[in-house]
Symmetry: D2
């Protein structure tokens, strides 16, 4: 049984709290949020205490681990404080928008030996994960191409966008991580292009709402990612791995298996599950379960701080490539 402090009681924090409450192996001990009523609501729902401060939460002996689901700019400080307090850490992505700040954080904490995991939930999606496992098991022989489709149902609000770090670091960072997970090796070159085709807010910020990336790994394997901030038919999340002996892919998920046949159309299905909380529900549950199990057994965690760092470097390279029109080399 692992005792948790939750930092951040917004949408994703509330979901994690529900998952902790439903787990037989976790206990939500305390909740902290700069917005008091949010913390009150989550703590009240699950019988946890409201921590008066981060320090108080970390000082509590009943707290074994922290789940960081607050805004991105708070992650590094919370990670550092929790690491110094000797708590296991599960932190939402991205670690930070500034890779040098991330590097410094890593220098500060790596010697402390505290288990830390970054919340790349897609690695725990049963379908995406089965693709990665099939690749690793050699089912498709040598990997030659990975194709990731990643489209949100609709653009985020302007306020969110402003502090998001841009599409590559905010949204596609998941896909960079997924690419590394499936390729089984590091990309060494990144090309990116994109534009703001429909979202005025993105355009005003110099950000993009539509993007395509091609990456090359040292082996020569190629990876394509296509992203859009808007898919009217739902949350479009697909993964395809292609190799010398075949292909394995994960397809979209829908709320039901219903098909309709009418005079003008056949095989018509529901819109896709919408949005990440619905689509990746099983993944979030599996993520926490795996985190708890590994922390309790003292095993290395599955998604490391360095994974968070590397995905961020790929996002940075994508930004640079988009600006320069060149493929940008990254350290493998």
């Amino acid at each position: 049984m692992l005792g948790f402090a939750l930092f951040g009681a917004g949408r994703i924090g509330r979901m994690h709290a529900d998952n902790l409450a439903a787990s037989a192996d976790a206990k939500l001990v305390s909740v902290y949020d700069v917005h008091g009523p949010s913390a009150d609501a989550v703590a009240g729902k699950h019988g946890a205490t409201v921590a008066p401060s981060v320090a108080a939460a970390l000082d509590d002996g009943a707290v074994d681990a922290v789940l960081i689901a607050s805004s991105t700019d708070t992650h590094v400080d919370l990670i550092t404080a929790a690491a110094k307090a000797g708590k296991a850490i599960l932190c939402e992505k991205p670690i930070d928008l500034d890779s040098s700040r991330v590097a410094r954080c890593w220098q500060d904490i790596r010697g402390l030996g505290v288990p830390i995991q970054i919340g790349f939930n897609r690695r725990y999606d049963p379908s995406h994960r089965a693709v990665a496992e099939a690749v690793r098991a050699g089912e498709i022989g040598t990997v030659e191409q990975v194709i990731i489709t990643s489209r949100d149902p609709g653009p985020p609000p302007a306020d969110y966008l402003k502090v998001s770090g841009g599409l590559f670091r905010d949204m596609m960072i998941h896909d960079f991580d997924l690419a590394r997970f499936v390729l089984g090796e590091e990309p060494v070159e990144v090309f990116a292009t994109g534009d703001a085709l429909f979202d005025e807010n993105a355009r005003a910020l110099g950000d993009v709402d539509t993007a395509m990336v091609v990456m090359r790994a040292a082996s020569g394997a190629l990876c394509h990612i296509n992203c859009s901030r808007r898919a009217v038919f739902g949350y479009d999340q697909r993964l395809e791995a292609f190799g010398s002996r075949g292909m394995v892919r994960s397809r979209n998920r829908r709320p039901t298996t219903v098909e309709r046949y009418t005079e003008t159309a056949t095989g018509t299905r529901d819109p896709l599950l919408n949005f990440f909380i619905e689509r990746y529900q099983e993944a979030y549950v599996a993520e926490i379960a795996d985190f708890i199990a590994r922390v309790e057994k003292g095993e290395p965690l599955a998604v490391t701080f360095e994974d968070g760092q590397k995905a961020l470097l790929l996002a940075d390279a994508a930004n640079e490539s988009r600006a320069s029109g060149r493929a940008v080399k990254v350290a493998g």
Copy 2:
């Protein structure tokens, strides 16, 4: 918040207990099972008390409702006792194997005005339910044909089979109910045939493991049900409604959306979800949520005692038809 006593702590009772525990609107108050250690385990897991007897459980003011998940032969007595104690009742199917006993039970309790629901879980499956709702909304015009595929992954143990009442009353009773739910009217004629093709236990009992039924409703609409006690690829659960303006159907469910492509085959997917606890997980949760919501609002329940009775009469008619080789008329 509805307080529940659970009668029966076997496989399906344990699942219901988990679902009650996960519901914000229910509280598992007590558990009773003739096998003490089973009751202990479930009660212990969820912080409920172990009831020393049915009477004690029903005597408890904290118990608003009972969930009956014990063996079929105990249902009528438990229903009757709970009804007399004024508790709302959610009882697993079938009510009983003997339709005259069911009729007497109904006579005993109908005047008591107690809410009672029979556990035809498939009505709550999001996919099957969407089919029924599309039919009711007129999407396919006049219903002309309903086709139900219902195949278990493997035959039950001999001990279970002996007291099961036979395939039509034990297994196909779900499909009879589903047929009524989708047709929106009563079958008036039943033809059934079947054989024990692979299960020696079924053969020894004069039971079947493979069966086909055709039913006719008063409007002339037809319904086919095919059942098997064994599908090596998983739990095969499909529903098709066909009418003057089109068709709507629900297809099987799998654990992932993964597809494999190899030198010899493409589009290969996982075996089907296996078995009812996995396949109908969402349905069981929705069933209890709907039961609770209606009991609390004092609304009529969605699946009535008479629904349980009518499905049983169709099963009886199927048995008679199989024996006589004739289509058997049933009161609509």
Copy 3:
């Protein structure tokens, strides 16, 4: 190279003429039709002669084989005449609507040793055929259930219906043959029911437009056929074989592989190919190719006169069952 006389230059005759013209192994020598202009048109298109009479066509030494695509009531006489003239025969289904007349025909010709094949085109459909071959190869182990879905896009004109012999002998006869083909054994019992739910012409004739059949084979294997004279979404033709080791099925065919995704629906596909000439185009071509190859090699033909007879007997049994409400035994 086999020289053909074509009897009957209606819709299906014209299609056969096109297929003969496209075959490198066939030559359309002559065409006969009671309606002269029809014969003229087909003969003109393909450079064949118009035969002044059936006798003249059969008297022509360049004619090795006859393709009978005229109205059903002419089949027996044409078969008999062609057989006496020593021509190989490919005759559209059904042989005749009267099974005693069919039996007499068989008595008249069986001694003549002339190759004769009945036009059950579905045996040559690549998808249905692959199902039958998988069954025969033991892929699904012992066959336990066969399910056939057979729905026409719309009801035939009243004139056609009047002489059609009714749904079971006109339309479902294809499915009876397909059932025998896939089961690999003879049905020994037939139950049928149905109604005229939408077609006033069928109702006026005492015919049905919607029907369901269940058949039992000697092994206990079961077969269900569902038929409708109207499917607004196209020609619904599906086949499913289920057994001890798995299932194999053929699904519907569409003109393209296009899928559409919109705000309200995903995966939307075209209406089904419509109608038999489109859906079974490849089957008709393969049928004639196989007929020619076997005739030329002197091999037994793949779909025999007796196959035509047996399908008709099953249709007769279905009519009897529908009238009596009983399962009707047939000689296996």
Copy 4:
């Protein structure tokens, strides 16, 4: 009725000859091939004459049009000669490997007013074409992303590869054309990368067997193409158009609609149709039919010389991008 001379009697020439023979609106008049026996075989099969020379074929008044299916290096001379002889021209892709030679050819012939079409067969595939038509009809709103998957079943022989002009000009040229067809506007920027991952012959030639391209159009719409010279599961040909109001895509084609279900897998389908002659059979037939119809009506042809030129320029840009690691601008 259009009389054709066929130049080139190899695999693709033979296929075109069969299609001309099956068309009621075309007549194969003569065949020329540098390899005499090939010409003899095709001419013999279809009752055409063997032309002793190109000049002789072009001199024949019965020849209205030429179909150029000879090796790529002969295309420009044949086009020029045929144009000067006033024949309508249907020429296989690519026009030539050297874009300056193509430009000179265009200068030589454009004033002659001869109808000329380039054989980009995919525009005539019913499924890809339906995607393009849906886009043009505004079904998906503004086009934002186009994704093309294009994988051959296996690499070509070394001899072919040597004269192929490399993957971008030989194979992906089809996809460049398809991209233009679907986007409805010109790409203005091309990024390409790739490697020889499995084909020693490609590696020896400095060619690639695996490639990914991203293109940007003036509107900001993006297009991704992924190519491989080997897909063990067949000929992988998919097209996806994504826009502001939805998505439309064409999926792969298989020989049958059969699905298999076993203990370990479900929904298993055939390998994909393999190779272009099978996959694009309908497209090749439609291409010639459209060419004939437009020539006879004097209408502009659907796929112009300039289409051939523009696809080649995109391939050249891809080569340059691959060499430089930069996105290369092209005149829109």
